[in-house]
């Protein structure tokens, strides 16, 4: 439940192994091979970056908090494990995920307002009829079996903040890393506390030279350092219990060893983040927009 991740529907129904997730997606693709070859879409992570930017745009105009955006991102991921994206209007789905997440995270927005805002951003793809969004809400809830409560790593981060004596810069960077992990499959693959620990480690090890505002994403602050061999160095530091490296990192390694956190999983998450930052360099908003737009228009998915 809310406090108890272990008994949650998130753990019981929405945690996949990598193999299982690949299998689910292969099955969706096999059901609609024609669309797949006719409408190629960018790498899933690039699409996620694009969707995330859209959610942030929607959220900005309504001053929505990050946690609601994060919940909307998880809803999108869950929904697209059950539905082929090429049979949906992603703009409608993401607007609906946003609308539903705001209600669930107790910062509700009126449906007319959400539709109005979305129309302002995507006049071509969102009709003024609120019933469309209402209907899509039914589909979203139904596909998620009403399992709408999402556990986020932010909570673990704030709980560990004192225990690990994290500085405010470290917390801010870890927070941004958590924001970034929603751009990967990690929320479907690992429990939130693993993600939080990963984010803390990344923040402590790669404390950037220009502390301060990282904005929403840690990409600009971290992509360079992590790629320049730093990533591997960090992974080595984690596995090295003999106690080399700076004391701050040693303390963390010590804590990890005592806390029974799955270090292998943490390392895997770090690698995933690293590879996100690599792929990010190819990101081209216009390209994503064109491919999705062509798909939606050609298939009349917005009707």
């Amino acid at each position: 439940m809310a406090a108890n991740y272990w008994a949650s529907t998130q753990r019981r129904h929405w945690l996949f192994t990598r193999e299982k997730l690949a299998e689910v997606r292969d099955r969706l693709r096999d059901q609609d091979k024609a669309s797949h070859s006719q409408f190629p879409l960018p790498d899933q992570r690039l699409l996620n970056i694009y969707f995330n930017q859209q959610l942030i745009k929607l959220g900005k105009r309504m001053s929505t908090r990050q946690q609601a955006i994060a919940t909307a991102q998880v809803y999108l991921k869950r929904f697209y494990t059950k539905n082929e994206i090429r049979q949906t209007n992603p703009y409608l789905v993401l607007t609906t995920a946003f609308y539903l997440a705001c209600k669930m995270e107790e910062c509700p927005q009126h449906i007319r307002f959400v539709v109005g805002e979305a129309r302002g951003l995507y006049p071509e793809f969102i009709t003024p009829d609120v019933a469309k969004l209402g209907e899509c809400e039914f589909a979203l809830i139904s596909e998620m079996s009403s399992q709408l409560i999402v556990h986020h790593p932010y909570r673990t981060l704030s709980e560990l903040q004192t225990e690990l004596a994290l500085s405010s810069d470290e917390v801010a960077l870890a927070w941004s890393v958590i924001n970034d992990h929603y751009l990967t499959d990690l929320p479907l693959l690992h429990p939130p506390h693993i993600i939080a620990v990963m984010a803390i480690i990344v923040a402590v090890v790669f404390k950037p030279s220009h502390p301060g505002n990282f904005g929403n994403s840690a990409q600009s602050a971290l992509a360079g350092v992590m790629r320049d061999g730093g990533g591997m160095g960090m992974l080595a530091a984690l596995s090295d219990k003999s106690g080399s490296g700076p004391p701050r990192v040693q303390n963390l390694v010590q804590w990890l060893a005592e806390s029974e956190v799955d270090i292998k999983a943490v390392i895997e998450c770090t690698q995933e983040l690293l590879s996100l930052y690599e792929v990010w360099e190819q990101y081209n908003e216009k390209h994503c927009k064109e491919l999705i737009g062509r798909m939606v228009r050609t298939k009349n998915l917005d009707k």
Binding site: N89, G134, E137, I141, I149
Partner: protein, 411 residues
């Protein structure tokens, strides 16, 4: 979105249910209605076993046709929480069906609720609910509430009608329509729903306009329920002041008075947070307008309790038994003014009222000879009107006229 549908009709955002209510359930009668919609009694069919209560959320209408207008936040909360929760003392959700623009929440059927049980004990004349039964009810209720609170769920609408009782005497906390998570809410709990908890069960900090309230509001309501089980009347039966057209929340003067009449005025010496309450001035004006003697009777709750035991013929030698002095102590700790000092569900379960005096049955009817009447189920509306939105004449009637007819029949 659904594969088959997208292929068949090329309506990609179209929603069709995979499960139809009528395929699985046969409606046998109408139970109750509220602002949210209506509750029906149903039996499983086509291989589905059991008896169920189906809560149908009222869809918004634009003229005659029902439109998708977005689900209410209360429906979303109840769906999400009930899906996530699982405890012997919390109502069990069977499934949720989204069909024809409506939500159907299918729950286990419960034969009784506390309101009905209390009512039964006033008919034809008052006869007290046995002390052992009250102890079992309260223990199970607190057990369920502890589960909710440890999972960061505030119920916020505990009252006898929402405490369900199965035919085998198990207590289930029901109606989570107002419940919500309280772990670091994005907005203050106050900003979402300004008025919470049926007025007679509303905690003093809510009446005084508290912005940040806690699980203690549920414990106050449990205290009120405990008192009502003993006396068969709401302990603080105030008159609600309706919200004005500006939607500002009025001070519930009468309700506050009812509490003060029994507990005395809250004092800043025993409730340090009192002076910071938004309605503190209102409380002072209320004190000024009353005879001072009225507030200084001292142990007023104790005298209320003693006369309640006397009226109910509760004594250790009587058939009803007695909740004794432990019962009073527990009640007074639940009805503690200061929410930070009010007893928690955990502490209450460890209170001598439960730890002394032998085992507590998980069946509140255990050792009780008499039978309670079954839940009233009316036959005037057994048509949930799924899938036949514009079919029969009846379905063309506005929902309200049916509702009024049902109410009349009930009375």
């Amino acid at each position: 979105m659904l594969q088959t549908e997208a292929l068949e009709s090329r309506r990609p955002a179209g929603y069709t249910t995979k499960v139809r209510v009528r395929d699985r359930y046969r409606i046998v009668g109408f139970i109750s209605s509220g602002t949210y919609g209506r509750v029906y009694k149903a039996t499983g069919q086509h291989g589905k076993e059991g008896v169920f209560a189906i809560k149908k959320f009222k869809p918004d209408k634009e003229g005659e046709t029902i439109q998708y207008t977005g689900l209410s936040q209360s429906a979303i909360r109840e769906m999400a929480l009930c899906t996530e929760l699982s405890h012997a003392n919390v109502v069990q959700l069977e499934e949720i069906i989204l069909e024809d623009k409506c939500i159907f929440m299918v729950f286990e059927y419960t034969e009784h609720d506390l309101l009905q049980i209390i009512h039964h004990h006033t008919q034809p004349q008052r006869h007290a609910i046995p002390a052992s039964m009250i102890r079992s009810i309260l223990f199970q209720l607190l057990n369920g509430l502890l589960y909710l609170h440890t999972n960061w769920v505030l119920h916020r609408d505990l009252k006898p009608a929402n405490i369900l009782v199965t035919s085998s005497g198990a207590i289930r906390i029901g109606d989570l329509g107002l419940a919500r998570l309280f772990y670091k809410p994005l907005n203050s709990l106050f900003s979402g729903d300004k008025v919470v908890v049926t007025i007679w069960y509303r905690a003093p900090e809510l009446l005084l306009g508290s912005r940040h309230y806690t699980p203690a509001v549920d414990m106050w309501a449990v205290g009120c329920i405990f008192a009502e089980l003993l006396s068969l009347r709401p302990i603080f039966k105030g008159e609600e002041v309706k919200m004005d057209s500006k939607k500002t929340v009025p001070f519930q003067r009468n309700q506050m008075m009812k509490i003060v009449e029994i507990l005395g005025l809250p004092r800043k010496e025993t409730w340090p947070g009192l002076v910071a309450m938004p309605e503190y001035n209102q409380l002072q004006s209320l004190a000024l307008h009353r005879q001072p003697a009225h507030f200084h009777r001292g142990h007023s709750l104790e005298s209320w309790y003693q006369s309640c035991l006397k009226n109910g013929a509760y004594s250790s030698s009587s058939k009803a038994g007695s909740p004794g002095s432990d019962g009073f102590d527990l009640l007074s700790r639940m009805l503690e003014y200061d929410p930070t000092r009010r007893i928690t569900a955990q502490e209450a379960l460890e209170h001598p009222y439960f730890t002394n005096g032998g085992p507590i049955s998980g069946d509140c009817f255990s050792g009780i000879e008499h039978k309670y009447p079954h839940r009233r189920v009316t036959q005037d509306d057994t048509d949930m009107r799924t899938g036949s939105l514009s079919g029969t004449k009846r379905s063309g009637l506005p929902d309200d006229s049916l509702l009024r007819a049902a109410k009349r029949l009930k009375e």
